[in-house]
Amino acid sequence: MEHDSHHIIPFKTYLNILLGLLFLTVLTVLVAKPVSGFDAGVLNAFIAMLIASVKAGLVAAYFMHLKYDNKLHLALFLISIFFLVVLFAFSWFDIITRIQQLSTL
């Protein structure tokens, strides 16, 4: 049976990623309206989700080794993301066209 070679990630890299994640956590709190008063209107949720996605990406790439792993695993991960986008995009398409259809404006 074949054995994939395992890439050893230096401790310093792990530390940097940890610091990055902590920074992004602080940033999430800072852009939260009840804490800082920062208000981007309809973009509030988008900003929070964007930061969370970057954090998830860092965890997947470094702590879960996707960056150094067999590219097939990366492909499977990206396919999952793609289908999530399909779910959101088609549902959004229905809702947005439904609003246009029903709106009297």
Partner: protein, 529 residues
């Protein structure tokens, strides 16, 4: 030859006692556990079906009241979908034969394989707890807002389905890794039997789609217990959003049910035509094609439930595309039969039954995908007939064919061919007598899910109920045929059908680790002539 094999040891007598079965990591034994589980649930779900049809034998209340009818319908649907048809082929036949088809000793994660069976059992037990709380009456789709408001055991059924979803995900994950990592030397992707291609495509669906159902059901539970307001319009939610989430899983789930059945049919048709399958790559890629397209069609369940017209048109168009890979398979199967040395044993009869019934199910599916027709047909018995032609006419016919085909390998015993053919005749005729009148009833406007109907629909309903009883008799006889074969059947040779896939090169029943020596593959799976 190993010492254990010389002593007549196989996976059935490798270890003894109930505990050895409940703690086994052997994929074959876990497959048998699934077989027993699925058969028990099928008996329960089938009993509910008989009760429903008996109630509908004539207009007005007959053997139950409206509330009991709604509960029978819900349990029939939930049991048959989550506990029978979804695990039916992948977890039972797939578990047993995927590693053998690949020339492997077991699946990649044997312990996870066992956990997946326990997830099914625990999920089913949780579902049954609902009976203490006056059952559930939402139908297996748990549509909001009713499923939020109804005050009974719905939460238990929803949570049970959530737990059973893990069974499906873990099985799918195991199959993907097994297919990638445990193929015998020389077993390239294009040397794999088509059943493996079908199971692989199914596994991708199980892994990608089932988590969405899990999240959706959790959101529904949160809605019921905490009123979070995602699906409840009174709290700013959108009930149609529930349908989007639900069908994003549940339409691919239809293909989780049918793709493995197509894989079984590919095996049966080539084995009993004694011919190389026509269009191997076309059938293999069409499995993947169906799996991919199935993710983009869920909105066809929602043409009349508030979805926008623009989204409806989009989903209608994409749904039509499913017909392309499906037709590719059907034409290739027919072309395989052409000029084959056909043996009309019961497995092939069931495969031919599949071709006939699934084609009707598929063509009526195209009719339902047409928005204009759907407005008339939606929520009528036309839809009920359509999806039973796909699920029962497709999947259950393939399961029956697969059981008869592989029974000699699984248990080393032959079944009684005469009685097996009788079961085919009863199930096939009974099925058409049950469900074909429902197309007519639907076109006449008889709504589905109702406890009662207008007197004008009575004669066709009577015919339908007679058909259901005929199916019931057919399956009871089939149970006897299978059980008698397992315990008293004639001893089977290693390859009674003269088939070419790897599982037939080993003993019947197979030894503990499937093959005495790891097979080396030098050609395709169907090298007849």
């Amino acid at each position: 030859m190993s010492a254990s094999h010389a002593e007549g040891k196989n996976y059935l007598n490798w270890e003894k006692g109930l505990w050895s079965w409940l703690t086994t990591f052997d994929h074959k034994r876990i497959g048998i556990l699934y077989m027993i589980t699925v058969m028990v649930f099928f008996a329960v779900g089938g009993t509910f079906a008989m009760l429903i049809r008996t109630e509908l034998f004539s207009a007005g209340p007959n053997i139950m009241d409206a509330n009991q009818y709604n509960q029978s319908m819900t349990f029939h649907g939930a049991i048959m979908v989550f506990m029978v048809i979804i695990p039916g082929i992948p977890a039972f036949l797939g578990n047993f034969f995927l590693p053998m088809h690949l020339g492997a000793k077991d699946v990649a994660f044997p312990r996870i394989n066992l956990i997946s069976w326990y997830c099914l059992i625990v999920g089913a037990a949780i579902t049954l707890v609902s009976l203490i709380y006056n059952g559930a009456d939402t139908g297996w789709t748990f549509y909001t807002p009713y499923s939020i408001e109804t005050d009974n055991g719905t939460s238990w059924v929803v949570f049970g389905a959530f737990v059973m979803g893990f069974s499906s995900i873990l099985t799918g994950l195991n199959f993907i890794v097994t297919t990638h990592k445990l193929r015998a030397p020389g077993m390239t992707f294009f040397n794999m039997p088509l059943f493996v291609w079908a199971l692989y495509s199914t596994a991708v669906l199980q892994v990608l789609a089932t988590p969405v159902l899990g999240i959706t059901l959790l959101l529904l539970l949160a809605e019921r217990t905490m009123g979070v307001g995602i699906f409840d319009p009174a709290l700013g939610g959108d009930p149609v959003l529930f349908q989007h989430f639900f069908w994003f899983y549940s339409h691919p789930a239809v293909y989780i049910m049918i793709l493995p059945a197509m894989g079984v049919v590919s095996e049966l048709i080539t084995a009993f035509s004694r011919k190389v399958i026509f269009g191997y790559k076309a059938i293999a890629f069409s499995s993947v094609g169906i799996a991919v397209v199935s993710f983009f069609v869920w909105g066809h369940h929602m043409f009349t439930s508030g979805q926008s017209e623009a989204a409806g048109i989009l989903f209608s168009f994409i749904t039509m595309l499913v017909g392309v890979p499906t037709a590719i398979k059907t034409f290739n199967w027919v072309a395989t039969l052409y000029k084959g040395s056909i043996r009309f044993d019961s497995p092939l009869l069931f495969a031919l039954g599949f071709l006939f019934l699934f084609t009707i199910g598929g063509v009526t599916g195209i009719m339902l995908a047409t928005i204009g027709l759907n407005i008339h047909f939606h929520d009528t018995y036309f839809v009920v007939a359509h999806f039973h032609y796909v699920m029962v006419g497709g999947t259950l016919m393939a399961i029956m064919g697969g059981i008869y085909y592989w029974l000699p390998k699984m248990f080393g015993r032959m079944y009684n061919e005469f009685w097996a053919r009788i079961t085919f005749v009863l199930i096939f005729i009974g099925f058409n007598v049950t469900f074909f009148p429902q197309f007519i009833l639907g076109a006449m406007g008889m709504p589905r899910r109702y406890f009662d109907y207008l007197p004008a629909f009575e004669s066709l309903n009577k015919i339908s109920t007679f058909g259901a009883w005929t199916i019931g008799v057919g399956f009871v006889i089939a149970l006897f045929v299978i059980v008698i074969a397992i315990f008293k059947g004639e001893k089977a040779s290693d390859n009674p059908w003269g088939a070419k896939t790897l599982e037939w090169t080993t003993a019947s029943p197979p030894p503990h680790e499937n093959f005495l020596e790891t097979p080396v593959v030098t050609g395709g799976p169907y090298e007849f002539r």
